[in-house]
């Protein structure tokens, strides 16, 4: 066989290049604000050419968001204990930073991808598992707080910034980039990563869960 037609990483593949550019623009401006013309312009093709590869804007969005949600569901379905669940979640975030940033900051994209139900269910299952046995209402709050601590802590350290594409003027991203990087906080590159970052985030989440005892 020559090539698997789906989910192959082949960085030169047109479908993958479309996904990459689309994801970047979706994260930057939001799904609704990003037009197909914007995406095709950046790829140097026309809007109509996009439709050869994806049947609709919605399908393009789905193809981008599916890997994260599928893997998350698989993870939760394994019924892991709280610590394993949290550790796997941090690992998931590492491998799907940009998509996570998209769906976390742009609920409209979740809705457009028809992923609201699945993500609500995921969140429910995670919170339930973190809340422990015979949970009080306060235990659910602590579970959600632990989940939020990891998510927000991770996003500070591993935020996807507008790509400084030297080939294009990239006019519209200038303001955002300046506002975030020169904001007086360390740049993403300065934070711990990998195992060290995971350890820090795990400590915050476990501290939250223990804060009720």
């Amino acid at each position: 066989m020559r090539r698997n037609s789906q989910s192959e990483h082949d960085p030169g593949g047109t479908k993958e290049r479309i996904q990459h550019v689309a994801l970047e623009l979706f994260v930057l401006h939001g799904y609704e604000k990003t037009s197909l013309r914007e995406i095709s312009d950046r790829l140097g093709i026309t809007k109509a050419a996009l439709y050869y590869h994806y049947a609709s804007k919605q399908e393009l969005l789905k193809s981008v968001t599916q890997p994260l949600i599928d893997e998350f569901e698989l993870l939760v379905a394994g019924d892991p204990d709280p610590e394993t669940l949290l550790r796997s979640y941090v690992d998931l975030l590492h491998r799907h930073q940009a998509v996570f940033q998209l769906v976390a900051n742009d609920h409209a994209s979740l809705a457009a991808a028809e992923l609201v139900e699945r993500s609500v269910k995921l969140r429910r299952d995670v919170v339930r598992r973190l809340a422990g046995p015979e949970p009080q209402p306060a235990d659910y709050i602590r579970a959600a707080a632990a989940f939020g601590a990891i998510s927000q802590g991770f996003m500070l350290a591993r935020r996807v910034e507008p790509a400084a594409d030297p080939a294009l003027p990239d006019v519209e991203a200038t303001a955002e980039k300046a506002a975030e990087t020169a904001a007086g906080l360390p740049a993403p590159a300065d934070y711990p990563e990998g195992a060290e970052l995971t350890r820090i985030l795990m400590d915050t989440a476990l501290a939250v869960l223990r804060s009720g005892s």
Copy 2:
């Protein structure tokens, strides 16, 4: 004097009714997806009538988001110690639940309201203050995690659900409502509120900040 023309609560005032309906729809579907026709239909007036009260869709959005951001800035400008800052933040969330839910979940609305710079600056200042003196990169991460713990914990307990408006069929909200309320987690009304909720959230955030020692 008869009436202050700005920011009076007068629940019968047309401007306030518009803000209320607009906020609800913005939270539900996102700013970009919500059309002025949708808002005016729900108010029983026409789209054109909206323009008598607000010069543009953007101005309507700004009028809705401004109270939260203004008060947040005032709060941070006071240079409070971490515990006071966190406590005031929880109080702020209590008084601006819906607006917070909007800007937290729909970054497109932040951008449209031209509030990205101010909110980035706010976040930076909060994280800095929570990170303590001579912070390491890991301290910033813990600060962001503490902030996220409070925000997400609060949102679980005080989430704004689609209004069950018996006067209108409210077709489009059915799926969302069913998915969220019947999801197997306590309903917002079942969680602690006020001082008790504040105490729980404060404990989670302080536990995160202490997790580095």
